[in-house]
Symmetry: C2
Subunit: 351 residues, 2 copies
């Protein structure tokens, strides 16, 4: 006799991360069955421009990936195709867990925040890689998850798959976070690295776009908005900050020229876009700005698309986590690992 758990998903947003997550899920299917006694079924997929699917029984993930890749659309998948809105799909499908992977809206964190609220209201656990809701509405969503008795995880929102939220939550019990500082935006770090090698900002941005790492709107990277959303999310969760991205003292890298890079190099320094959260009296102060760093900083070797975060704590001093050139696989892994932690929590009966 053996028991299996069947976990049914709705995936909202099915761009690069969503598709990579679907591929990871397929490649791990046997492993999940064998070692976790877990079968994951996708009941619905909702996209903004590629059509949506909803079904009472499991969808064929391989075929979904093929349709997207061959036709760029799900409308030809079959009778499961639907014109229902994301919120309607979340309400009507009978999934246990919502995976929220829509793109960042830096002005409001919407519509992702509403997707998450509705999913929680119908009793679903939620995993997201969208930093908007954590930057704009973390406290409200955390409280809602508690009152509804559902699980809410979001490791992929910051530093791709590197475990940051889990690290503090699960490995540093009784430790208080007193400050955070990091290089959190891959594109601007890549651009600064390329500029230090003599290329122009425009060329480097083009490269980043071709590599698929740049946001559709380059201002999100270059003007520091992505780093701003990430440091806000980190401070909200790890320092109980209750801030939003508009509270961040923000300066991007748009005005940095090749001359600035040369001047820095002449002094043995590098320019990096640094995000910081610190305690300021009773308040938490958040800042994103270009800073000069020297070779003895742990951030010196954080080049290209790598990222790093230093977590200052009361008992553990300073810990730095450094992620070397992550790609889409790492972000997809973050969603996958959150899914596994949700399953673990369901099985242990804890929230």
């Amino acid at each position: 006799m053996r028991y299996y758990m069947i976990l049914r998903l709705v995936i909202v947003g099915f761009g690069n991360v969503g598709q990579e997550f679907a591929r990871l899920l397929q490649s791990k299917r046997e492993w999940l069955l064998r070692t976790k006694s877990l079968d994951v079924e996708v009941l619905a997929v909702s996209t903004k421009t590629k059509g949506s699917l909803m079904s009472k029984t499991k969808l064929d993930l391989d075929r979904i990936l093929q349709e997207i890749s061959a036709r760029g659309s799900l409308t030809g998948y079959g009778s499961e195709a639907t014109n229902l809105s994301p919120l309607e799909i979340i309400r009507r499908c009978e999934a246990d867990l919502m995976i929220e992977l829509t793109t960042l809206n830096i002005d409001s964190g919407q519509p992702a925040t509403d997707h998450i609220k509705v999913a929680m209201d119908v009793g679903m656990d939620v995993v997201t890689a969208n930093k908007g809701p954590i930057a704009y509405a973390y406290r409200e969503l955390r409280n809602r998850a508690r009152s509804r008795g559902v699980r809410f995880r979001f490791e992929g929102t910051v530093m791709d798959g590197a475990p940051i939220f889990s690290l503090v939550e699960r490995t540093l019990p009784g430790c208080q976070v007193t400050g955070l500082t990091g290089i959190l935006n891959s594109t601007s770090n890549y651009v600064l690295t390329e500029m230090s090698r003599g290329r122009s900002m425009q060329e480097a941005i083009e490269d980043a776009r071709k590599m698929g790492i740049a946001e559709a709107d380059p201002s999100l990277d270059i003007d520091g908005w992505d780093a701003t959303a990430k440091i806000t999310a980190l401070a909200n969760v790890l320092m109980d900050a209750d801030k939003n991205p508009k509270n961040v003292d923000r300066k991007g890298i748009r005005e940095i020229g090749i001359d600035d890079m040369k001047a820095a190099a002449d002094h043995g320094k590098r320019i990096k876009l640094i995000a910081t959260a610190g305690v300021l009296g009773e308040d938490i102060a958040l800042r994103v700005r270009p800073e000069l760093i020297g070779p003895d900083s742990p951030f010196w070797s954080v080049e290209g698309t790598s990222s790093a975060l230093t977590i200052s704590t009361d008992f553990m001093g300073e810990l730095t986590i450094y992620e070397n050139n992550p790609g889409l696989t790492q972000t997809a892994y973050a969603v996958f690992s959150d899914l596994l932690l949700v399953v673990e929590s369901i099985r242990s009966g804890s929230i």
Copy 2:
């Protein structure tokens, strides 16, 4: 109505780490009661040269610390003083959890391994900061813990309080570790840093001794034995290696002179003692040796008593954890955090 858990400890080994752990426990007493509904009582303390104590009821930890500090001995504490051996104390005391903090014996991992076996056999959970047992007998101890139904944690054995074992176990589900490389011995790293600033190895070793970070026998640090034990422990736990320190291809820093440091600096490099574990065919290969590293290595800024570890994985690529100048507090915190994770596991009914 409110329920409290009383957790009763036996502490075996009461040197610097043990005393710092006792102070941390005292300073967190109110917090443990308030937020964890947990009361921690020490029933026995066993030391090699400072006398031992055993009691049916809780000992006064403040008085124990005072006796040690004022007299360097526990023999004047009162009727709880005993001449029983550590193994007798473990067998006879009625503690729930053993904290094993004896010093490293690099030749065998003893007597700590026997302390742990006996504690497990009488049904105690075990927390240790002694790397010997993990380097010499991990697989046996892990299996024994499973068969006895007890918990076994050892975060403090490597990189002080930086969560390494917990990180992989609790935040990277489904990820396989494919390689490890790190700067793991504080004293040799401190010595190399000081030598790069023009001081002699002997002066730097003397400093490290005064700072209380050097092992009593400098060979453990300088000849790479401490790093060897740590990389073995890491590989045993994270890569299922079943090795012992004698299987490590080991070369320390003893033969490095000021001239070598200067030659490295002339080429823009630094010399670091690097420990590595890698997959070699069906086997795991372990190595400790001085290596030249450049400023673009994440290890470049690991100076003084800092340490760092890069964990290579199948899904998450490379993650580096960097601990900035840890002290005794961090090692004591590692023991404390393991204790809290044991309590969490007891409460959730899992092992």
